[in-house]
Amino acid sequence: MPTNPQSQLPNPELLLFAARRHFFQQCRVGLGAMALGSLLTEEGAHAAMPSPSVADDPLAPRPGHHPPKAKSVIFLFMAGGPSQLELFDPKPRLQELSGEVIPESFVASKRFAFIKKDAKLLGSVRKFAQHGESGQTISECLPHLAQVADEICTLRAMKTDVFNHGPAKFFMNTGSPLFGRPSMGAWVTYGIGSQSRDLPGFVVLQSGPRGPRGGGPNWGSGFLPTTYQGVPLRNKGAPILNLDNPEGIAAADQQRFIGAVNDFNRLRFAETGDGEIATRIAAYEMAFRMQSSAPELMDLSGESAETLALYGCEPGKPSFAMNCLLARRLVERGVRFVQLYHTDWDHHGNKGTELGESLDKICHETDQGAAALVLDLKRRGLLKDTLVIWGGEFGRTPQGEPRDMIGRDHHIESFTMWLAGGGVKPGLALGKTDDIGYYGVEDVVHVHDLHATVLHLLGLDHLKLTFRFQGRDFRLTDVHGHVVHKLLA
């Protein structure tokens, strides 16, 4: 580090102060201060100065509206729409009526993606059993999940609004079927920041044959600052884009580089007094930390053979199971919101998308990892602070789809998701569907309600977490959503 011009550099305290003052002065409208303004004025009890300061880091952790139950979220997004009728929701009546045209009363004013209103009902060939002390009903497709039945809370009458994949994925992630609204992970990190000082606050992982439909906007920040968008973590090459130094630049060179950049920046800060420069200095320091912490995160050599076997993953072979293990490592390191996408659950009934072998295959790919994640979090004492969410953008119809093989169309009226940990009642089976599994008839949980509940568990009030855009205070739950108190532990 150069020493000579040191006398002209402002001291770190002054820098911090300037950055903080700058944050509140310049960012009153639009940036994180909106969250602070609304969060911290509501509840006097939580109005303490957040530390470390949001000033030099908009991702700094900060209190929400009420004490949280969960500190982090891991959302296992089963892209394509898993069939609840094959996995969770056995329907003897549907079995009996299999092959008959669905009664018109069910479908009078409905729209479907592919099937017609005279589609025939389709019973499931899968065997179901009750598991654990709680007696959760789970099919033979998910034997590992059955073993953690008492840890999970199943939502058996979920409901959504849109029946095409892209819009439905946006709806599950952003509360709107349109492209480009802020995602749940963005809202959460905007609201309460992240505990991690050297990894992004919102991380996205991907497995399966291809990426999820819709791509980036599923984890985008929409009109929130880009700071809050999900950062994809890659399984091959550098885990974060541009994480590796350019060729020929060693770690020591990079350290010198960051030092030199920040020396110049400190001088300019002293000259102009612009707090934005202090923020940039902090950003370069965090970038440098990220360069060592991200590879450390991906390095599984410290994991025991037993742990690897529990998840069923092999180092060097990207898989959903490995992503589950990485998810645990991420929340261990304080990352606020982790989302795993696994494709493709879209079982319409063509070769490769039928409810026979294809369903077996994807269950096999995901079942062990998801169950292991719950177990592993639990034995490490992390489950109580970590909310695990499993589910897709919608479910599948009780009607079969007339394609080459057995399959079902997209269904929005009822489907199953499960939650675990993070203040959720373990072993609870919430919600019932009608005899043929068409509509939810008891404890229906709409996607907006799920969003309200997730925010609630994180200490956020979905009515108060707002951002003003185009003249309106937007929320994750739009103008809807109720916290599902029945599932709170």
């Binding site: 150069p2 903080r20 991907q206 791509g215 980036g216 110049f264 920046n265």
Partner: protein, 815 residues
């Protein structure tokens, strides 16, 4: 630091504007504090549609008038007011209000009580819902008189007079003019988005003539890069992108629209014509090709190509987006709020929303071919027809050889290796996997066409080789997406609660009752063209204010109205209302000439001020709303790239043309449904300006996204400026920026044999100014460190030095 803690704490509790920290609790404001409470809890039953017990609470007049149970409020006596009793549930006359839903919070009740106790007041405009609004932005734009200032020597014109008068009121003085290198860099970045060359800086710094600055401005405004810079601003609002969005996000061709925008701005097309061409160019008499291309503005909406979608649903979404975008861009109104219900705060009814909808609901959405002037002149179209006719003739001839072809094709299929099979396009592969006889007609053609293009087939059949060569020679004509009005208009209905499956009353085109009326030629029918003309009619109070405010925002970082997309009652009030009106009036007076207005703004002393933070201003005006100094602004995403390329001497300055594919990091498409084609350019297209980078909506070029470029999904009238570690990683490590560092290193080395000269040259290329003595010391330390670390290998050492300079905050900031 301790001194400031209580003050900071106060911000948290107050939750009000920073300026108000030390003030007493603010006076309760009807529009800000009271009306929203009624709107949220009461007006569903006590509003325009229903008046339970004869009470209306949506307008202040109704509140003052009371209902069937008598007066709702008693001035000065909140405790005795029926309204408060009802809300508290203490009334003997009525049950607790609201009967359903969330009760009012204690804070809300306290606000209502304070409002009543203070002697309830509401502005005249809030008294009644009527066709008149006294809200400032709906009032006619009148040229205000120039204010008197104490220091008449400072203002160069009207702009400065308004700014100075407001500063003087607060006993503040403006900042001195920025140093010349800073000034030329600032105005170059603002007008053309490129940094000045060191020679230009030197020439300007040394130019003692009184009009040196004005001549600089004229040169920049005449530069074709001006159209690129301001065209990109416009493309933000047009939500331009090169793909369809939603699920599949396939590519689209609409770059001719981008080219049109750049060209229209460069040739100084007046803003009213610019507007009419884009909203309704297709409806003008004998529209030119350019006018058709211009209607691409509203074709930048998304298209959902997912299987099993209800196409009408997504067409409706696109039309709604056109309404919302038009509302934001021209009127500064949040029309979208009225899609599901009458606007809660502004005079926009749901019916009026669907009147706008009807105006934009009557077009087809075709694609047209757009040959360039050169292509027309050299007869490409005719030549293409000839080539196509010849291909057709040869194909007929080839058809006679069908038995031989089928035999050869089957022989070929038998020889396809598994590797070759894997490379077949998806649908061809499906057909290939089936038995010849089992394929349907479409599949047969698919695989036959594929086979005909293979080298094996072309060797076996000379005719196929001829056809192949002709196809290569066929002139390629660009296409673009446009609007075309339908002969028979669609019917438009109000969508109840915004649901298009639940149609309400039928509506026809029209505009807001509070706005000036719309002229229309055709008796009874208002057309999209009438609407376009109405948007830029001389008596439209919103369009010129909104447009000028947005341009002001680009030059100062903040609009005179901070909520540039909301000029309604919930938006912020103008900081300098007279100045805004002066600009709006002048804009119309100058024939909607944007360049003239830009010249006036950048020539003002207000614009030329230094951006350095001053302690007196920081205390009195922390957000710099009064503009006692200029602002330091991080460059827009594309400009961050352009500046690095220009500094490295790499920039390819070609204007317009199709989108390009600069190198991007590996793995960007792992997270999308379909991998996107992205073959990094190797020639000049590798170094084009950021605005030409192909933009996939589902997976934008990472650098652009990281630096806050909008996603192109909805209109963007203001970009956020974030400051994140991912930005640092991009500038530090991204290949594109590393190449700029390498190129800058070569420039520095070529410049001089002396290290100090090299360092200073590179520094000036980046920042336009000379280093200070402290910076010189840092530079020499840096040169020494890196020379040592690289064992004196100059290219390596200077690449590292230049990499530091390209990463400076100031390099990506306009001061």
């Amino acid at each position: 630091m301790y001194f400031f803690r209580p003050a900071l704490g106060a911000i948290f509790f107050a939750g009000l504007d920073f300026l108000a920290i030390a003030a007493e609790p603010a006076e309760v404001d009807y529009l800000r504090d009271i009306k929203p409470i009624f709107a949220a809890h009461c007006t569903a039953c006590h509003g325009p549609k229903k008046q339970e017990n004869g009470l209306r609470l949506d307008a202040a007049q109704g509140i003052f008038a009371g209902g069937d149970n008598g007066p709702a409020i008693m001035a000065g006596k909140s405790a005795k007011s029926l309204l408060i009793e009802a809300i508290r549930g203490t009334s003997e006359v009525v049950s607790q209000m609201p009967p359903k839903g969330n009760p009012l919070s204690t804070e809300q009740i306290a606000l209502l009580a304070r409002w009543i106790d203070a002697g309830p007041k509401a502005p005249n405009e809030a008294l009644a819902q009527s066709a008149q609004s006294s809200h400032w932005s709906f009032q006619p734009v009148v040229r205000p008189p120039l204010p008197l200032v104490k220091d008449p020597a400072w203002p160069r014109g009207a702009i400065d007079a308004f700014i100075l008068a407001a500063l003087e009121k607060q006993k503040l003085v403006p900042s001195p003019e920025a140093e010349r290198p800073t000034l030329i860099r600032r105005v170059s970045l603002d007008l053309v988005g490129l940094p000045p060359a060191p020679e230009e800086v030197a020439a300007f710094a040394g130019d003692q003539s009184p009009d040196a600055y004005e001549r600089l401005i004229d040169r920049l405004l005449a530069s074709p890069h001006y159209g690129e810079r301001w065209g990109r601003h416009w493309l933000d609002m047009a939500r331009y992108a090169d793909s369809n969005g939603y699920t599949r996000d396939f590519g689209r061709q609409i770059w001719k629209y981008r080219e049109w925008v750049i060209d229209a701005i460069n040739r100084g097309q007046p803003f009213d014509q610019f507007t009419i061409d884009q909203i309704a160019g297709d409806m003008l008499p004998q529209p030119t090709q350019e006018q058709l291309v211009a209607t691409g503005f509203h074709r930048n909406t998304l298209i959902n190509e997912e299987g099993g979608t209800d196409q009408e649903q997504f067409r409706i979404e696109a039309v709604a987006d056109r309404v919302n975008t038009t509302g934001s861009v021209w009127l500064g109104l949040t029309l979208g709020c009225a899609r599901c219900h009458t606007h809660k705060y502004d005079p926009i009814t749901q019916t009026e929303y669907y009147q706008f909808f009807a105006l934009l609901n009557n077009c087809d959405e075709p694609q047209i071919e757009v040959p360039s002037k050169l292509q027309v002149a050299r007869g490409d179209l005719e030549r293409r027809e000839q080539v196509r006719a010849e291909i057709k003739r040869l194909e007929a001839e080839q058809e006679r050889l069908r038995p031989e072809l089928e035999a050869k094709q089957q022989a070929w299929e038998a020889e396809v290796t598994p590797q070759e099979r894997a490379r077949l396009p998806g649908p061809v592969q499906v057909a290939y996997d089936m038995k010849f006889a089992d394929r349907d007609a479409k599949q047969k053609k698919l695989i036959e066409d594929y086979y005909k293009g293979t080298e094996a087939a072309r060797q076996a059949f000379p005719l196929l080789q001829q056809i192949f060569q002709l196809r290569e020679q066929e002139p390629k004509i660009a296409t673009t997406m446009i609007l075309r009005e339908r002969a028979k208009p669609r019917e438009t209905f109000v969508h109840k609660r915004g649901d298009f499956l639940d149609p309400g009353a039928k509506v026809t085109g029209g505009v807001l009752a509070v706005m000036p009326s719309i002229d229309h030629a055709d008796e009874g029918m208002v057309s999209r063209l009438d609407f376009a003309r109405w948007l830029v009619a001389a008596d439209n109070p919103l369009t010129p204010r909104v447009a000028m405010n947005r341009d002001w925002q680009k030059f100062f970082g903040r609009g005179l109205v901070e909520t540039e997309d909301d000029f309604g009652t919930q938006g912020s009030k103008p900081s300098h209302p007279e100045l805004l009106d002066w600009l709006a009036r002048e804009f119309i007076h100058r024939g909607w000439d944007v360049k003239t207005m830009h010249r006036q703004i950048v020539c003002s002393n207000t614009y030329r001020q230094s951006s350095e933070v001053r302690s007196d201003l920081a205390a009195a005006d922390p957000q710099n709303k009064l503009l006692g100094r200029q602002a330091r602004l991080r460059l827009d995403a594309e400009i961050v790239r352009d500046v690095a390329l220009a500094i490295g001497g790499l920039l390819t300055e070609t204007i317009g043309g199709p989108s390009v594919f600069p190198p991007q990091p590996e793995g960007v498409f792992d997270f999308t449904q379909d991998p996107k084609p992205w073959k990094a350019a190797t020639g000049g297209d590798r170094y084009r300006r950021g605005m030409y980078t192909h933009f996939w909506r589902s997976s934008p070029y990472p650098m652009l996204l990281t630096f806050d470029a909008p996603g192109g999904n909805v209109t963007c009238t203001r970009r956020l400026r974030s400051n994140t570690p991912l930005q640092s990683l991009t500038l530090a490590n991204d290949q594109a920026f590393f190449e700029c560092a390498q190129a800058l290193a070569i420039r520095a080395i070529d410049h001089s044999a002396d290290d100090a000269n090299r360092a200073e040259y590179a520094f000036r290329l980046c920042l336009a100014r000379e280093p200070t003595s402290a910076e010189r010391e840092l530079l020499s330390r840096l040169v020494a460190d890196e020379t040592k670390a690289t064992s004196g290998e100059p290219a390596a050492a200077w690449t590292r030095i230049c990499r530091v300079l390209l990463n400076l905050d100031e390099t990506i900031t306009r001061e």
